[in-house]
């Protein structure tokens, strides 16, 4: 188990607003972290810092190379409101764009790249969509395409910002099964508002509300959430153990 990223007392924000307040956080190779928190709490901002899209105002972020496989790729699925659906591009091309890493300077794609795209589309059951322009997709279909783009390069770290938005129940279940499977090869960070559903799949929970509280267990109670300054409701789906008030040995980092 080796370290991928380390954030050391990071402060980050926009304009004059400090959104992330003194966040320290480490991500390891086999992590499967669920990020929860209220709207506007700073979850997307945290991901943007990790992705290098926002520079911290203070503090540091360090990446640790993978000496074994030389794979330092990050796969990323943005929150769907950040995507321009009118842009004239086909599903196949969107997924191919997840491989610009591997192409040379002129970014022509190889046969293997096309095969990888094909396999990824098959895995997610969306082969029939491959020639469609993205403007003609439903919200859930779009999510699957964005997921395909995120995983097509077999990244070392997979970052997903609310991948379950618009997705139907059937695919949501499949999605998490796929992620559990992928987690054998890559670390995963997933933002979700549905802690009830993801808690059975993830390994640890990070509560983000301006600050970050790392809960090294996949079970959490409302009391604990409140103590983390993270007042969100636990939505229960049938008999889920995490609603039972138990004490967990969690370590704050």
């Amino acid at each position: 188990m080796s370290k991928i990223v380390e954030l050391k007392s990071v402060f980050a924000g926009y304009n004059n607003d400090v959104i992330l307040n003194d966040v320290s956080f480490e991500i390891y190779d086999d992590d499967f972290i669920g990020i929860i928190g209220p709207n506007g709490g700073g979850k997307t901002t945290l991901l943007n810092v990790i992705l290098g899209l926002i520079k911290p105002i203070k503090g540091s972020i360090e990446f640790f190379g993978d000496t074994e496989n030389k794979n330092n790729k990050i796969g990323y699925l943005p929150q769907i409101n950040q995507i321009d659906k009118k842009f004239p591009i086909s599903v196949c091309d969107v997924v191919l764009s997840g491989l610009i890493y591997s192409s040379g300077i002129f970014y022509k794609h190889s046969k293997e790249d096309r095969i990888k795209v094909r396999e990824t589309l098959e895995k997610l059951g969306i082969c029939d969509l491959q020639n469609k322009p993205i403007g003609e997709l439903s919200g859930g279909q779009m999510q699957k395409v964005l997921l395909a783009r995120a995983i097509v390069s077999s990244p070392r770290l997979l970052i997903l910002d609310e991948p379950n938005t618009f997705v139907d129940n059937k695919f949501e279940g499949e999605l998490y099964e796929i992620l559990v499977h992928l987690n054998k090869e890559m670390a995963i960070i997933i933002v979700s508002h549905d802690i009830g559903t993801i808690s059975t799949y993830i390994k640890t929970i990070a509560c983000v509300n301006r600050g970050l509280h790392y809960h090294k267990s996949n079970k959490i109670s409302e009391q604990q959430l409140a103590s983390y300054n993270c007042p969100i409701k636990l939505i229960t789906h049938g008999e889920v153990p995490h609603t039972v008030l138990k004490t967990h040995n969690h370590i704050l980092s």
Partner: protein, 280 residues
């Protein structure tokens, strides 16, 4: 009709029509899909400042306009990234500031200002040999650039942030592309004029977009549509003696109306036959 080809101004204007279609077809597709139409309008009008200064200092207005346009394009690109000023306000300021500078310099230029109307309203019939050479050079650059970097341009235009997470030099690419946009605008000012150049960058693309949702095909279709539009406009302006720039835009808008109607009728009839099949 053939004997008029002997005059060099006719050959020049036909060549200009051809290169205008290529440059506007490529760059316009980029502008429209990136939603940079307003920014392009700003660059266009800002370049009038360069034209005014060109007159005052006795330079070729096209060169001073090009410098002005590129600097303002790079400026907006830079400002909108570094500061928190709203981009559209910056563009609005630039738009009127460039026009103001142009008006001031033209006013203080002693004596008669030749061809001013050419820059404002365009006149494809007065395009010079130098203009044609410049447009040819730009066409070649654009074709090479968009061919070799097609996927890169497409992916960055579609989702900049994603490209950034893949360590692509997004900023560099954006600066290069915005400079090419500025050059395209300036070199096409002679053809349709400052006031109308934006329509040459958007109407063919809007027509093409009705029939294709593929970036490359929109480029190719736009080039053909522009060419047909510009030639139709030219013939009109020659036959009934109206300004060429306006005639070109007028024909393009008519084409757009026809295309929209055709597309609506076509898709309705396709839908109808599909419903028929389901009912049978």
């Amino acid at each position: 009709m053939l004997e008029i080809l002997q005059y060099s101004f006719i050959t020049n204007s036909l060549l200009a029509a051809f290169f205008a279609s290529i440059t506007c077809g490529i760059v316009g597709t980029y502008i429209v899909t990136r939603r940079m139409v307003f920014l392009s309008g700003g660059i266009t009008h800002a370049s009038f400042g360069g034209i005014g200064m060109g007159y005052f200092f006795g330079l070729n207005p096209i060169f001073s306009a090009a410098v002005f346009a590129i600097l303002s394009a790079l400026g907006v690109e830079f400002l909108s990234k570094r500061t928190e000023i709203r981009e559209d306000s910056v563009i609005g300021i630039l738009w009127s500031f460039g026009m103001a500078i142009g008006i001031i310099f033209i006013f203080i230029t002693p004596g008669y200002v030749p061809n001013l109307m050419t820059y404002l309203f365009g006149s494809i019939l007065t395009v010079s040999g130098l203009d044609v050479w410049l447009m040819l050079a730009l066409s070649v650059i654009l074709i090479l650039f968009f061919t070799f970097f097609y996927r890169l341009i497409l992916f960055v235009a579609y989702d900049q942030n994603y490209a950034r997470t893949h360590k692509i030099a997004v900023d560099l690419l954006n600066y290069i592309l915005i400079s090419l946009v500025a050059l395209t605008i300036v070199l096409n000012i002679k053809v349709v004029g400052i006031i109308l150049v934006i329509s040459l960058l958007t109407i063919p693309q809007s027509i093409a977009n009705l029939f294709s949702k593929n970036f490359r095909n929109i480029i190719l279709l736009s080039i053909v549509i522009s060419l047909v539009g510009v030639l139709t406009g030219l013939i009109f302006s020659y036959k009934i003696n109206i300004p060429s720039g306006a005639a070109i835009i007028f024909s393009l808008v008519i084409f757009f109306g026809l295309a929209k109607a055709t597309q609506m009728i076509l898709s309705r009839s396709i839908l109808k036959t599909k419903i028929q099949k389901i009912l049978e």
